[in-house]
Symmetry: C2
Subunit: 506 residues, 2 copies
């Protein structure tokens, strides 16, 4: 029997997915084991694979095959995932990726790639010197190209270009939804921060001590095992910046960073990347040859890391489990009690730096970036005025003002790589995490006891069933809606913070 259109589409998608897997592995190696002198060749290998991926995705034959498969009565129903035929979802995801790739002219793709490399170099220098004007011309050019890209991606003429960028990270998300949501969030978050950060901070029981990094490493591995991260389907290594990458549900790579003075840093980093990793391991492996075997969105992915890092990892019940294990490895910490540790893991401070921010203040850092990006894309804000706008925004939202660009507008890598539209996914992750955790708590009445006993598998199973196994068969918000009964909202996050920090109030 000749191959059906669906067979032919699937064979091509399998090649695309294999290329993605290869790109992921080469990227992992680049940050872990690549010898320094291999960097130039690695750049060329990645560029070649990405070029091949783009070529294979945009070839007109694939477009024809997708159209034929969509109409073909022979296209078989895959096993249903989430109430709709998985093959329909697989075709839709493929069409979505393909159409975005096709719409942007090759010239623009190449210009953006080139400019991003140059901008990254300029940003590193600018940050080192704390001189925004060194970076400004690159950002201005990036904005021009990203606007052009947004237009190519068919934002309606005169419409919201930022939507086209959002779509690259969070399918279906729109400025029209984010703006009121972030406004509401800020409305209650800013006063909460003012109250919590204004109070006296508890002393850090670990300050000034050193913690053997090999013991830290062993403890992070123990935590991964307790979380139910499958050591036969993934591994943890060390890198300068922690990250996680899924080559395949059977091959998930995590990294962490160990610092002698900051033992909690490695722990929370492992919980965070482990959360991403559980999502990747829980994706539907039977669909690995299609685009269904991917996270549903960056926001939903981030919800998994935040859930494990913050809602589990910084909770009092989990510290009941963790503290004796921590103290067994680090006798120098045996003097401090559970409350002191729990407070140390949950200090609220008006920090200048996003990546060091606690879970209360964190979203205000995101709101600021969203406002500024929107202004830049809409043309309401000039690049030259960005540092001033940044500092004013920090003062308004967080009550602190950076003294130097390096601690302000130059702190994040995202704009240097052209990733405008990415930041909101962090807050979506926080909001989704709170909703999912609240729903898990309703479904698992013994959750706190489980956490305190180190029984994390019921929670992992709940997430696997309600989030991970869907892969990309449903939109992120629909997955959350089915899991929690509600779509995107900030109520659960607010309840979570108010309950937790009410109990923590000194």
């Amino acid at each position: 029997m000749p191959d059906t259109a669906w067979d032919l589409v699937t064979a091509r998608t399998a090649d695309l997915r294999a290329l993605q897997g290869a790109i992921t592995l080469l990227s992992w190696d680049q940050e872990t084991y690549l010898p320094p002198k291999g960097a130039e060749a690695r750049g060329e290998q990645l560029a070649a694979l990405q070029g091949l991926y783009h070529e294979k995705l945009t070839t007109p034959e694939l477009g024809d095959l997708i159209a034929r498969a969509e109409q073909d009565p022979l296209t078989p129903a895959l096993s249903p995932a989430g109430g709709e035929g998985a093959w329909q979802a697989a075709l839709r995801a493929l069409r979505f990726e393909r159409e975005r790739a096709v719409r942007v002219p090759d010239r623009l793709v190449r210009e953006l790639a080139k400019l991003q490399s140059e901008s990254l170099v300029a940003w590193r220098e600018a940050r080192a010197q704390s001189r925004f004007e060194r970076f400004a011309p690159f950002l201005a050019r990036l904005l021009t190209l990203r606007r052009e890209q947004a237009d190519a991606l068919c934002a309606p003429p005169g419409g919201e270009r930022y939507d086209a960028l959002l779509e690259g990270y969070e399918e279906g998300m729109r400025v029209a939804r984010l703006e009121p949501l972030f406004k509401r969030l800020t409305g209650w978050l800013a006063p909460l921060v003012a109250r919590l950060a204004g109070a006296a901070q508890p002393p850090d029981p670990l300050a000034g001590q050193r913690f053997d990094v090999e013991q830290q490493w062993q403890l992070t591995l123990e935590v991964l095992q307790v979380m139910g991260f499958d050591g036969e389907a993934g591994r943890q290594d060390r890198s300068i910046h922690p990250f996680s990458l899924g080559v395949d549900p059977g091959d998930v790579r995590l990294t962490t960073r160990l610092s002698e003075k900051l033992p909690l840093s490695a722990l929370f980093s492992t919980l965070h990347e482990g959360g991403h990793g559980l999502y990747e391991q829980g994706l539907p492996a039977e669909h690995r040859r299609t685009f269904l075997c991917q996270g549903a969105s960056f926001g939903l992915h981030e919800s998994q890391s935040r859930l494990w890092e913050n809602l589990v990892g910084r909770s009092l019940p989990f510290w009941r489990y963790l503290l004796p294990r921590f103290q067994a490895r680090f006798p120098q910490a045996s003097g401090a009690g559970l409350t002191a540790f729990h407070r140390a893991a949950n200090r609220v401070e008006r920090s200048l730096i996003r990546v060091e921010a606690d879970e209360v203040t964190y979203n205000l850092h995101i709101v600021l970036r969203f406002e500024l990006e929107l202004g830049l894309m809409r043309g309401n804000l000039a690049v030259a005025d960005l540092p001033q706008a940044w500092n004013d925004g920090m003062e308004r939202l967080l009550g602190v003002r950076p003294a130097r660009d390096a601690e302000g507008v130059l702190q994040d890598i995202h704009w240097a790589t052209g990733d405008l539209g990415y930041f909101p996914t962090y807050t979506l992750g926080n909001l989704y995490a709170a909703s999912l955790f609240a729903a898990a708590r309703r479904a698992l009445p013994a959750l706190d006891d489980d956490l305190a006993a180190g029984r994390l598998l019921p929670l992992r199973e709940w997430l696997r069933e309600h989030v991970h196994r869907h892969g990309r068969a449903l939109p992120a918000e629909e997955i959350v809606r089915r899991a929690t009964g509600r779509g995107l909202q900030d109520d659960d996050f607010r309840s979570y913070l108010e309950t937790k920090y009410g109990a923590l109030a000194p």
Copy 2:
């Protein structure tokens, strides 16, 4: 100015080379860090990349571009390497690879790949049960396909099909040269083995002791550093079977295997793979985007590993350097002296197993395999008669007869993967290594003193200058001829063995 044909060829070759690099890295990871459950996806990733490589290599447009570039007056001369324009050599290597790939029909490529996977499984089972008849039908089918492939590769009708297979590993090598060479070699080697293996063997000073594997690991790293293996352009990891792979001259991956009871095994394995690694690091990186940045042949590659493992690593001068370092790490070995160690590293035994054979008997194992492969390809030898022919050959050449197929005809993986024509490159490597080392000794009068002092860089530089830097710009034998004044012969190897084992005679 529009791109010249040469520019266009180079861009495509750069993509092919990048794909090769990616395939190499994925293969390395498969044997070092891949989680077990990632194996299925890794197989698919490698198959997809190999398919893309084949597709990009055989596309007719590339054939047209090569033909145009060869005629195009605009094709620029690259920096000359080895007396001929490097661009000519690059085009010739590309054309060579492309024509071999084009000539074999896709159907046959796929059938061979499928059969090789199945044969490997059957061979593993057959070997475990020591039952050749389990493997025989697979070998018979492999032979049929390899004959078909040889015919497609244009062996003249009625000509020597084995030549077409040899050509895949050793460009330009022919049965008509190997047969008399191997006959001559056997003529003096068999009596030498009879004499040496018949003598009483010295006791092994390390027998029955245990050697800390972490100390072994540190010693192998020390040896790599002394050899001049650039740690910024490569790394060593652990794997079940030692191997070496060059992703790029700046990214060379070695592995070794550590065994508590066999400390010399890790040492010699590191010297062996390190020799391969130095070749890869010494390839002309400025040509990395072409096929020039590759070893000239499998035989020449093997000469580099054998040279470091045997001619350096098992020499008395080098043991003068190594022994105190070995004994510093392993005090339990401090009782034995230099002579005892040197003898232990150079025991000659009539072994049944090729991979355990010493450097004297080793080539007789190869001669046997060459004779049998030739018989199989020519149709003079039936698969069913192979075990008997093997055992008879072992008795004739080495004076020992396997009692079981697992220790005889089933011992090597090569036939299971269809790699007929590969074995002779091991002996070519041994012969080339002896010639190159003799020439290096003439050029470096202080060589023995250098080895005894751990000064290995002069030797590495000589090899880099006379072998490595040529890459694939010249045929392997031509590289050896320019380096030593003579082409392929067995005189240097004979002198080496006779001198060494004359001095060693008890």
